[in-house]
Structures are given as C-alpha cells and as structure tokens.
Amino acid sequence: MSLLFGPGSWAWEPSVLIGLLATSVGYAVLVGPLRRRHHSGERVPVGRQLCFYAGVLSVFVAMVSPLDTIGDEQLFSAHMAQHMLLTFVAPPLWLLGLPAWMPGLLARRDRLARVGVRLTRPAVAFVIFNGTMWAWHVPFAYDAALRSEPLHIVEHLTFMATAVIGWWPVIQSWPAADDDPRPWRILYLFLSTFPCTALAAVITLSPRQLYTFYANAPLQLGVSPMLDQQVGGLLMWLPADMILILAALIVGNRWLADQTGRYAQGHPPKVATSE
C-alpha cells in the first residue's frame, strides 16, 4: 500500500504532466474544432479518439505511477514494464487514434514529409526501432541512463519516438489507401518478434547480473536480483511477442476480410439446393 500511495511513490514530474496534457489538448483541438474549421479531413470515430487518449494514459501510468519510482530505484522488472508501456502499448494506441489526414497536415511541408516517408519504410523502421531497443540494453548504456537523469529522459524519448516509427508501417497506412500490400505487414510483425525474443532471451537466460545498478540497488522488495532480472526479461519476452502476434492477427483478419468479401464471414446462399 505505502508503495502505491506512500510519500514520493508517485512521480508528479511537471514536465511529464505538461507534456501529456499538451498532447491530449492538442489532439482534441486538431480532431475537433480545427478540423471542422479547415475541413482537414473526415471526422475521427470516437473509438479511435479513445485509443489515442488510452495511449496517453498508458504513458501516464508508465511515467507517473509508482512503476516509475520503483523502476528507477529498485527493480529492473518494473523498469522493463515501464519500457514495455512506452514502446509496445502507447505508440500503437496513438497511431490508432491518428487519422490518415493528420500526418497529411505535416506532409504539406514536403521536406519533412519526404524524411517521414523514408524513415517509415518497413526495412528502415524495423532497423531503427529494434536497433534502439538493443542499443539501450547494452549494460553500460543502460546503467548510464539510470545514473544520469537527463540521459534517462533521452532514453525514454528515443524509445517512444523509435517505437512510433516502428509501429508506423503496421498501423498508419490503414484506413488510408494502401501502397504496400498488407501481407507484408504480417511478415513485418512476424520478423519483429525475432529481435524482441532474442534480447529477452539473453536477459532472461543470463546466469549473472547484467546491470550493476540493480545488482547493488537498495531494498529489492524481497525479490532476489537474479529473479528480478529474469522476470524483467520475461516481461519483455512474452508480452512483446503476444502484442506483435495479436497485431499480426488483426492485420491478417482485416486483410483477408476484404480479400474474401463476406465469403469467409459465413453467409449461406439464398438458394438452398439445385435439383
């Protein structure tokens, strides 16, 4: 209990709060009044809007709730949970909330647009996202981030930014018209499980402490450092893979749906039998 509500367990970091608030308001204005005024695009379904706010909420949970404090001071596993929220939960939710026309607004600045298009090519996005993921888990990088607050902020920002890039090829291009055929997206998600599984496996199966910071962190909430590290690895292993598989199935489902029309959805013909 004291962990959840005790003094200093919630990190009311103003910069984070302001950032989240600004994002939500900005979004609300963009999809609401501004859109109506400038007819920037078709209205965004409520469900999609909720997705976006859910994304913001998950960042709130990651950065403000005790998860943050515990992760920063005591448990690798908590820190991993935080990173999972920042990379595998929030970004896809944001993108779900993003109507196709919104990046279109930015695209008016065509230099920016060109960069964006380059960065979000599947191959490029794949490398950027997973590269960042791996780079930050190199022990000295990870420990450094834990020791210096600014670096830690950079870490989290890069995680979120690259995650958005990484999820872009999966989510953004629908409902917008399709340039790359959907099956590639299933393959993209399938291949994305590999770097995750690999990194998680190295962490989970490591017979020794990888991150000195947690090796000699204070009170461990009764969890042995080794167990903490294994749980951390597993938190990356299964959830990440499951989210990717789920995404692959959703993509596949929609794709097959309009490949087959109502065929697969089970509507028996009007005529029963032919004599």
Binding site: L238, I245, A264, P269, S274
Partner: protein, 550 residues
C-alpha cells in the same frame, strides 16, 4: 514406374511424354520434380519404417537379444532423422511442388532450375547421410544430437560429421525449395486468385515455407558450430573451455519447434482440401483456418524452451513458457472444430482419401490433448523423455502428418497418373494403419506413465513393461501390413489402363481443371478465378460462391 505408366498415349500430351530416364534427370518441370521428391521420400519411408520394425522386435520383450546396443542406437537415430528430414518434409515438398502451381493457376514454379537443384541436393544429402553406415557407423546420438555427447571425446569416428553435414545440405535444399514456394505463391497467381481465394493447402505451404526459411538458419548455426568444434577444435559446446552444453539445445529447439509445424501444417492443409470435397461443402471458417495457421506459425517461434523444462530453469521462466505453450492449443482447437464444422450438415462420401482425412482428425486430437499435458510442467517433469513423449510425437507425426499424406496420395493419385487407386485395397490399407497405429502408440502413453524412458535398447523384467511393449510390436506389424497393401494397391492401380478423367472426385479447386495428368504447360489458357472454389462456381453457376457476396 510412374514414368512408364505415363508413357501411354494421352489426349493432351502429358507432363512426361515418353519420359526416358534422362528426361527425368534433366527436368525442371515442377510436376516431374514433385514426383521425384515423392518417390524418393517414399523409399526413405520404407527404410525408416524397417528401422521401426527392428526396434519393435528388439523391445518386444524384456532383455531382448535382436539388436546390440550400438546397432539399436544407430537405428533409432536414423529412424528419427530419416522420418523427419527425408520423409515427411520432402513428401510435403513433393506434393507442394506438384500441386501449388496447378492450384494457383501457374505454369511452373518461379525458379524451375533452382527447384531441380533443391531436389538433387536433397537426394544427395540423403544418400550421403546413409553412406555413413559404410564409413564406420551411422550417427547414434538421437535425432536432436545433444551436445556434448556429439563432441569428439564422446562420439569418436565420423558419424556425427556425416550427420551435421547432411543436416546442413538438407537445410540448403529445404531453403531453396521454400524460397521457390514463397516467390511462386506471391508472384505467379492466376488473375483473380487473391490471397483470400488461395486453397488452404497453398496457404499452409506458404506459412510452412516462411517457417522453414526463418527456422533453418538456427539449425545451420548449430550444425556449423558442431562441425567447428569437431574439426577445427573450437569449444562452443565444451564446458571445460567456457562453452555451454545448453547452447546446443537453445539453437536446436529454436529450429526444432517450428519444425514440428513445418511437418504438420501441410498435412493440415491437405485434409482441408479433402474434407470439403467429400463433404460437398466449403471449408468451414476459411478465415479462421488461415489465421490459425499463421498464429501457430508465429507462436511456434516463441516456445522452444518447453523442450527444456527439465534442464533446471528457474520457475518464473518455466511458468511463462508453460503459458505460452498452452496458447498453441487454441488455434489448433480452432482447426479441429473447423473440420468438424465442414463435415456438419454436409453429405459425406467415405472414399479412401476421406477415411484418411477423418482418421487424421481423430488421431491428431489425441496428439493435441497429450501435447497439452506436456505443458503442465510438474507432469512434464515426470513424462518428458519417457515413452509418453514418443506417443505424443507419433500421434502428431504419424496419426497426423503421415495419415494426411496418405490421404493426399489417394486423393491426388488420379491427377498425377490419370488412374484411380483401388478403393477396396484402400479401405483395408486405412483400417490396418488406423488400428495398427493405435495398437502401437496408445500403449506408449501407458509405458511413459509406468516409468519407461525413451531411447533405451533394453529393459529388465519385473517392471510391468513387457506386455505393453508386446502389444506395440504386434501393432507395428499391423501398420506394416497396411503399408504393404498401399504399395500393392499403388502398383496394381498403375497397371490399370488410364482413364485420364480430369475431375474424378467432383472437386472444387483449379488443379482439377487441368487434364490428368496435366499437360507440361498445365493450362492451355490461364483461368480467371472469382472465388475459393472456381470449379464449384463452374458446376453450379446459380450457387457460385462469388454470387454469395451479392
């Protein structure tokens, strides 16, 4: 024999008109290559089966004297390696080679020469592996060759080098084959053949090919490192020098678990073609079946550690992998129910292919259920590496894969040869195999529970294992008799005059539009596809699947 069979006059000119031996050696035609794959694989199937019979004879009673321990270990290793790498995979590859282009309305595979190369590499690898018998003994460390038993100090001689090299070659062959399938299916589909209209069998071949392409590299790494250890003197698996014994298991099972689906998915695809035709219904829940195949495929890459539950992993890790493994039961269940749903409300014709397909469902269910038991970790600690696991893999790979393949052979035989397989012998063949396989493998569950470890060449009496082993041995010979009948049936049917009937089963998919056997170019004109069942649409214009959308 197929050659001579097809050498007779054919209305359209067949894939193998006056096919002389050279014609076969030089061919790049996907149909001939497919046939060669199947014939070769079946030959290996007979060898691997003989090994099984020898093992059963040795184990028929306590302290058996039929085989020495050395011979027994070679034989069970070669049985496993053969059945997995030289029988089930190439049989599926053969059928795929023959059927995929026909089913998607293409005239050949994307890379015909590469296709031929793949076959010849496979054949060479098989022969190379078996030549080890002539060079101081065959591999004898089990089909998953755990290090450090495979290292120089414990496996003197060259057996393991033969094994590793053969595995690398087979990996190469399979990769080229899979690559070919992928590109063919992605690029050469007939107009209108959208992914939503791909026959389920083509889908499973596609998924399988992706699994193979991305799982085999891990096996290649394992084999390569093993060879380095044995030949160059590195220490990847040598604990004394900073290596690791478990590294092999991680590398192997990262390949090994997807491999299980590489073996079973095509068979699932085959019966997903057979059951609808003989139930006179479309496959029930096409989308669900396709997606579950994809789900199984991806999940398969995340669960390898469940083959290592007894290696002393921490409980947290065990729990996660247990959960992960349970999940695979779900898409598998979806498939089984979809097959039931396809039969439900249909009008079932029990020709031999349908018998085998239904047999698949009945037997695979058992393999699925006892497979779930293996994910229950405390139980797994008791039954893993016991005969319980042997029972499980055989219900999946014999009751599953082999039954599916036999059904497929009966189903597509008329397409390949222009003749029907004998129904009477076919039914005998099925029932003998069905009864026999249950006699062999159901008691293995019991033996596992009674504490009999796998891979032992002998056992003492007084353990209560004798009777069950005896039943199994009897069953094994019943199965053998069934397979003998298949061969008789095969030869007799080939000697019958050909009818060249294009569509004897009143089937649904494109391959039955081509002549039997198909002309070298498959289709005079490439058909345009409007639904999953183009032939049904043709035969029932008013009930056409594509109309159903209006």
């Amino acid at each position: 024999m197929t050659a001579q069979a097809q050498a007779q006059a054919h209305p359209y000119g067949t894939a193998s008109e006056k096919a002389g031996i050279l014609d076969w050696v030089m061919t790049v035609d996907h149909k001939k290559i497919g046939i060669m794959y199947m014939v070769t694989a079946f030959a290996f199937f007979l060898i691997g089966g003989t090994f099984a019979l020898l093992m059963r004879l040795q184990l028929a009673q306590p302290n058996g004297r039929v085989l020495s321990n050395a011979t027994y270990n070679e034989i069970f290793t070669m049985h496993g390696t053969t059945m997995i790498f030289l029988v089930v995979m190439p049989l599926a590859a053969g059928l795929g080679n023959y059927l995929v282009p026909l089913m998607i309305g293409a005239r050949d595979m994307a890379f015909p020469k590469l296709n031929a190369l793949g076959y010849w590499v496979f054949l060479f690898a098989g022969i190379f592996l078996y030549s080890s018998f002539a060079f101081g003994g065959a591999p004898d460390t089990g089909w998953f060759s755990y290090a450090p038993l495979t290292e120089k100090p414990f496996s003197v001689g060259h057996a393991m080098d033969f094994w590793a090299l053969a595995i690398l070659l087979l990996g190469l062959a399979t990769t080229t084959g899979s690559l070919n399938f992928i590109v063919t299916i992605l690029q050469l589909r007939a107009p209108g053949m959208t992914f939503g209209r791909l026959p389920v069998f083509v889908w499973t071949i596609l998924v399988t090919s992706f699994l193979a392409v991305f799982a085999l590299p891990s096996l290649t790494t394992a084999g390569g490192l093993l060879l380095l250890d044995r030949q160059v003197g590195t220490h990847f698996f040598n604990v004394a020098q900073g290596g690791s014994a478990l590294l092999w298991q991680h590398l192997f099972w990262f390949f090994g678990h997807p491999e299980v689906y590489i073996l079973i998915l095509p068979a699932m695809g085959m019966i997903s073609e057979i059951i609808p035709v003989f139930s006179r219904q479309p496959i029930f829940g096409y989308k669900a079946i396709v997606l579950s195949a994809i789900a199984i495929g991806i999940l398969g890459f995340t669960v390898w550690a469940h083959h290592m539950f007894a290696t002393g992993m921490p409980n947290a890790t065990l729990a996660v992998f247990s959960a992960d493994s349970f999940l695979i039961g779900v898409p598998t269940g979806i498939k089984i129910f979809s097959w039931l749903g396809t039969m439900w409300g249909g009008k079932l014709r029990f020709k031999t292919p349908m018998l085998f397909a239904v047999g698949f469902v009945a037997l695979f269910l058992v393999g699925g259920l006892d497979g779930v038991h293996l994910a229950v970790i405390p139980v797994d600690w008791q039954v893993t590496d016991s005969y319980y696991v042997v029972a499980h893999i055989h219900y999946v790979l014999f009751g599953g894969a082999i039954f599916g393949l036999f059904g497929a052979l009966y189903y597509w035989f008329p397409k390949i040869t222009g003749r029907m397989m004998g129904e009477g012998l076919g039914k005998w063949n099925f029932w003998l195999m069905f009864i026999g396989m249950n006699l062999v493998f159901m008691p293995m569950h019991v033996l596992g529970l009674l504490g009999m470890p796998r891979r032992i060449y002998t056992y003492g009496d007084g353990l209560g294992w004798g009777i069950w082993n005896l039943i199994e041995t009897i069953g094994a010979f019943v199965v053998a008799l069934g397979i003998l009948l298949f061969m008789v049936n095969f030869v007799v049917s080939l000697r019958k005059p050909a009818t060249y009937e294009a569509d004897p089963w009143d089937a649904f998919t494109l391959e039955w539009k081509a002549s039997s056997p198909p002309a070298a170019y498959n289709f005079a004109e490439i058909p345009t596809v409007k639904s999953l069942r183009p032939l049904w649409d043709e035969k029932h214009p008013d009930l056409a699947d594509w109309r159903v959308r209006e």
